[in-house]
Symmetry: C3
Subunit: 309 residues, 3 copies
């Protein structure tokens, strides 16, 4: 029996290197299969999704992943139009959705929501983003992308730039990277540094440096992971305008990078990466989105098939 | 040819005992089939839904039922974003949806809407709730649950508690129960008693007593069917607060019930049943939700297959 | 290889008579196939839709077409709940959706949006309405309906009545009719005449007359194509009320028409055609809606199968 069968995917912290590599191997298999064979993997199975925060991108990634392996999806993408509006508890909503589907996907603003929901659900539950730190399938997608594009993860110099305070993506990625021997440089304006209450946990797994200046690191990086800086995060607009320019990745910055470095972004992007970077061989954020579909397909295939696929 | 083939499901009043039993038998068959065989029943068929009132619960029940028998669903769950916004008539919307699908599901606030729509539609139409009294598939689900959990319907003492004035579920259940030899106790605050204009119709089919006090009946009941009491139904909040407590089903009340009694609820629930009841063997409302999926699958399977399944 | 394989459908101007006839032939084949064979055409393929303007009708037509040929659909029907709300560019949204699907359907308010998007998309893109003039699949549906119901297009006298200024449907139909030898009469109030900046382009392909009076043409027409007149298009309500009555097609008007004339409408209809016309043998607008499903199925089948079907 494969170890993911009927298991919940709650936190990236639950994944060690071996587990991650197992998913990567299965993802490679998904990529290699022809579409007919691929559709046998979860033929006729149903994925139920519950989005308490809007995230069209993540929902469609799961839905297309499920379609690619022969399954279908149903659920609530906009919780405001649902029974929860009538005051139904999360527990009841989870119970009912687990009746309607073979596996659940949950997006929820609160920390711990997925853990709680998984204890209620009769079906395996996948966390599609919860609270301040957890977005395990995004982290898996990011790690797979690095592995695929750089042929390894160990030994890499990885810069993560932008808003490191808000945005669960960065935290999940850091916990995931904790399984590898990597040199991480966190680059952000002072006010958007990684939260101090998470630093201790991350430090246990990973060495990292912090700096506001990308120039200090740019020529050394193998991977540059870019995140959005949102204007509304800044106490005043003046401070925003002051830092904004320093965190836009354009051709000028790319030219200072190693020839075989790669640029990633969880998307959606606003203007953190200029459009002229898109066509360079270093830009891998659209490949990253595509790998997200495959990693999710692999994960769902493992969860829903006793002997894997 | 099976008698439901290409037939509309408009009103629970159109169902006699024999018809109900036919659906129950087919539902049992659905439950017993393995998922591969089940998906042959409506393979490649399309269910079109039109919800003029939001009801995520009912829509997902139909959608998951259709998926389980191999079909797919499409339609409008939120009529406000549709062509009807441009002033299109119900008749035209029904005509078009019947072109896009093999069977239709309609939810509409007006009495008679489903009858009207079924005369327009070229495809069989299933009423998913209309007007003040009709919710035939909910009634079938409720009756099947009682039958399944109590092994019979005839001879049972059934209490229905809560808001009996608003909410079509109770009316459809009473009309459905009219086919059986049951002893019904209606329990509600004075202001939420069953509507007097329906009493005559129901009396023709069924004997029932009315009382504001659950204590008068609690130790005799085989089935307690709980419904939501909505604050906004009360003329003033004081009256609401006065009655509210008396209609919450908790362990204290459950302890006064017969050991093998069951508690049902059409869901969503707010606080009419306390969470500690959920784990008791008497709580059957989540089973009821699951049976809803199977009864709808059976119904759709009968409607769309000439010789049944 | 069939000429539509992996091709974009951007503008009806790209279609000559031969191409149109090829689609008509394939549509006839779709109609003749039994549903099991039909579902083999795009078995397991995924259609991604992006609607930047609400159009439930068009979306469901594509979705039911895709379901009928064995495929599934996913996407964003209400762009306001999507990542574009976070400021994502159309280009990025298109790129991502093209990762999630085998073909794309785009509805967008701006002229040129589909052409732009098709250059970005890695998958074939079908324009489901853009800007002021383009709605190619509606035009194909309209032309197929005329051909099917009148057995020919060449030689027909075709009246188009209503709001000819706004509404891209009329423009696409006129460009499509430019491939045939037809006599076109445009009938509208002065303020809703066809836009003068389009007249030159249309004149190059087609002869037409313009008139505010349907009475001048009614007894000669083979086809009467009716469109909505929207109150909000008029500078003042008085003018609207003045013209409104003259553009309602009822039995009185139908009685002046040739016995074998047909009445079309892109739907939704408000009150431009009275309900008593629906039952006449001349009313073909619901057939037109059904043909829309088949023409879209044929088009998608051609785009997604190298050797056609």
């Amino acid at each position: 029996m494969n170890e993911f069968y009927q298991k919940d995917i709650i936190s990236i912290k639950d994944f060690n290197k071996e587990k991650l590599e197992k998913i990567f191997t299965s993802t490679d298999k998904i990529i290699q299969l022809n579409s007919t064979d691929r559709r046998e993997i979860c033929k006729g199975k149903t994925l139920g999704y519950l989005f308490y925060e809007p995230s069209t991108r993540t929902r469609l990634s799961f839905e297309s992943a499920m379609a690619s392996i022969g399954g279908n999806s149903l659920g609530i993408s906009d919780i405001s139009s649902s029974s929860t509006q009538k005051g139904e508890s999360l527990a009841d909503t989870i119970r009912i959705m687990s009746i309607y589907s073979d596996a659940l996907v949950l997006r929820h603003p609160l920390d711990g929501s997925s853990r709680f929901a998984s204890e209620i659900s009769e079906k395996p539950l996948v966390n599609a983003g919860s609270g301040t730190e957890e977005h395990p399938t995004q982290a898996i997608q990011d790690l797979f992308t690095i592995k695929k594009e750089k042929k390894k993860i160990d030994g890499l110099k990885i810069g993560i730039i932008g808003d490191l305070k808000y945005g669960r993506t960065v935290y999940s990625l850091l916990y995931g990277l904790g399984n590898y021997d990597v040199d991480v440089r966190l680059i952000s304006p002072e006010s958007l540094r990684i939260r101090s209450d998470s630093t201790y946990e991350i430090k246990k797994r990973l060495d990292f440096t912090e700096s506001p200046h990308i120039e200090d690191h740019i020529d050394e990086l193998d991977v540059l992971y870019v995140t959005r800086i949102q204007k509304e995060r800044f106490p005043d607009e003046e401070e925003y305008l002051k830092v904004k320019g320093s965190y836009v990745v354009g051709l000028d910055l790319l030219n200072q990078m190693k020839d075989d470095s790669i640029i990633l972004h969880p998307l959606p992007r606003i203007d953190e990466i200029t459009a002229d970077v898109d066509k360079t061989k270093n830009a891998k954020y659209f490949e990253q989105a595509e790998y997200g579909k495959y990693t999710r397909a692999a994960l769902l295939g493992l969860i829903l098939n006793k002997n894997g696929f």
